[in-house]
């Protein structure tokens, strides 16, 4: 289903739901390479939105623009009602505390233990918190990913799947309203990838988080997506549920599902 038809249907379904992320007419170029060109989309509360696209299509650029790691050339990004492009440093930090970001490379701090990795965002946040609360939150986050026994290990001692789970636990520790997943299953074997997918769904159900998941892994899309957007040529080419897009007759959309 192409974006024009889909927008009408989605608006009807979600008309009562307030979007937690609203992206309008986003543009981003690197030199002459136009990566995002008039990209618009909304993410509703408690929804898993998957942005599907080929490698190099600008998926990572998109979520880095949302979190403020990259500044777009034009367009607007509203997150939880805040205009992300016009916040000062302190305001941006406070909004970021409500957004979790799972990096493709996990980005665990090599020089810190698992415990210190998880404590880091807690100690840096603006929330007043004592050591006992920190310990409880670390343990809860690790229990969520079934890795409480790794608490004193170094990231280098963990397998790829375990590192991904720890990164997810660190993302969850501040109980964010929104989680941005950058290729969550890339580089993992299919079984571990499926475990991560199931974890994403479990987290959504447990905390009612809204998730922005970018991937090109069709199995991940099938398992986690409430809604799928296809990013192509810098804009949202098609949008719908997994089943709707799978049945699409559009050749460009079909190629992702073959």
């Amino acid at each position: 289903m192409l974006v024009e038809e889909k927008t009408i249907l989605t608006n009807k379904i979600n008309s009562k739901q307030q979007p937690v992320v609203e992206i309008r007419h986003l543009k981003k170029s690197f030199g002459n390479n136009v990566v995002l060109d008039d990209f618009s989309i909304e993410l509703k509360k408690g929804e898993n939105l998957v942005v599907l696209g080929r490698s190099g299509s600008g998926k990572s650029v998109l979520i880095k623009c949302i979190i403020g790691l990259l500044k777009p050339d034009a367009g607007t990004i509203d997150v939880l009602g805040y205009d992300m492009l016009n916040l000062d440093e302190d305001e941006l930090d406070k909004v970021r505390a409500k957004i979790g970001f799972l990096f493709q490379s996990n980005a665990l701090y090599d020089s810190m233990t698992v415990r210190e990795n998880l404590e880091f965002p807690l100690r840096r946040s603006w929330i007043a918190i004592n050591q006992q609360q920190i310990d409880e939150m670390v343990l809860e986050a690790l229990t969520n990913v079934d890795l409480a026994h790794t608490i004193n290990m170094m990231p280098v001692e963990l397998s790829g799947g375990m590192r991904k789970r720890i990164a997810l636990a660190r993302t969850l520790i501040l109980k964010p309203d929104i989680i941005l997943y950058d290729e969550p299953t890339t580089g993992l074997d299919p079984i571990t990838g499926k475990e991560i997918d199931e974890l994403i769904v479990a987290i959504q159900k447990k905390y009612n988080t809204a998730s922005f998941i970018i991937t090109h892994d069709i199995n991940c899309v099938r398992l986690v997506a409430d809604r799928v957007a296809v990013l192509m040529d810098g804009h949202c080419y098609a949008e719908g549920t997994f089943d709707e897009l799978q049945k699409s007759t559009d050749s460009k959309v079909k190629q992702f599902f073959e």
């Binding site: 490379s105 090599d110 840096r124």
Partner: protein
């Protein structure tokens, strides 16, 4: 054309380093000081450099004394060896050699550490978790380098002079008290203070360049190696440039 490009790249990098350095003063003055991380860096940068700095300082004093001894003996002024070595070490050799070794050990380690953090997105992870990575990583390291190098220079000077004392006693016989009495009789505040002050600038330069190279690392693992290497090369060159400027200033002020 290529020469033109090289000059353009040179000035572009000089501009980037200046901007990076100015951020240190802006971010360093803002509240929420990273005290724990600063002390951790002081421990890593200062305390853990002690064995290397001490060893090189000792060898420097010993070798310098053994090298100049024959010439001093031929002029019949061997009694002035402690004075000459003392002035040479305290005024010039101690600060500069210690700064160069510091650049090799700490500059490369900061460049590689921040470089690998950059290419594995750890710096981005810090930023999205509400931490200012510049303040946490750069300000603490630059400040620790700036404050630890003068301390290391003082220790290196002391160990060098002890090495020199042993060097004097290999062929002759001089008491510890006499050796240091001659050294201190010939040293003035105008020898010690400028050398001490310039070591703050050496430390600052090594810290800033190491952090700049690491923080702006790219091209994956190859970039990390380049960051570490170029941090050492550039900070070593800057140490000499600062030394050149410092000697001109002390000359103008009549402290030479």
């Amino acid at each position: 054309m290529e020469l033109h490009q090289n000059w353009k790249a040179f000035f572009a990098e000089a501009g980037d380093i200046s901007r990076f350095t100015s951020r240190f003063f802006v971010q360093g003055a803002k509240p929420r000081q990273e005290v724990a991380e600063f002390f951790r860096q002081c421990f890593i940068i200062g305390y853990k450099s002690l064995p290397l700095i001490g060893l090189t300082g000792f060898i420097m004093g010993l070798v310098l004394t053994m090298q100049i001894r024959p010439t001093m003996v031929s002029y019949g002024v061997q009694s002035q060896i402690p004075a000459m070595v003392g002035i040479a070490i305290v005024r010039e050799i101690g600060p500069v050699i210690t700064a160069l070794i510091f650049a090799g050990k700490i500059g490369s380690s900061i460049g590689a550490e921040l470089g690998s953090m950059k290419v594995t997105e750890q710096i981005d992870a810090m930023e999205v978790s509400g931490t200012n990575p510049y303040k946490y990583l750069v300000v603490t390291r630059v400040l620790a380098c700036t404050l630890m190098l003068p301390v290391l220079v003082m220790l290196s000077d002391a160990i060098s002079l002890y090495g020199s004392y042993l060097g004097v006693n290999i062929r002759g016989r001089t008491s510890f008290a006499f050796f240091f009495k001659v050294v201190f009789n010939n040293l003035d505040f105008s020898d010690v203070i400028p050398a001490f002050l310039k070591s703050f600038f050496f430390g600052f330069a090594v810290g800033v360049i190491g952090c700049y190279k690491g923080y702006n690392s790219n091209k994956g693992t190859e970039g990390v190696g380049y960051s570490a290497n170029s941090a050492v090369v550039l900070s070593s060159v800057i140490v000499f440039i600062i030394d050149l400027i410092a000697v001109q200033i002390t000359d103008i002020l009549g402290l030479n």
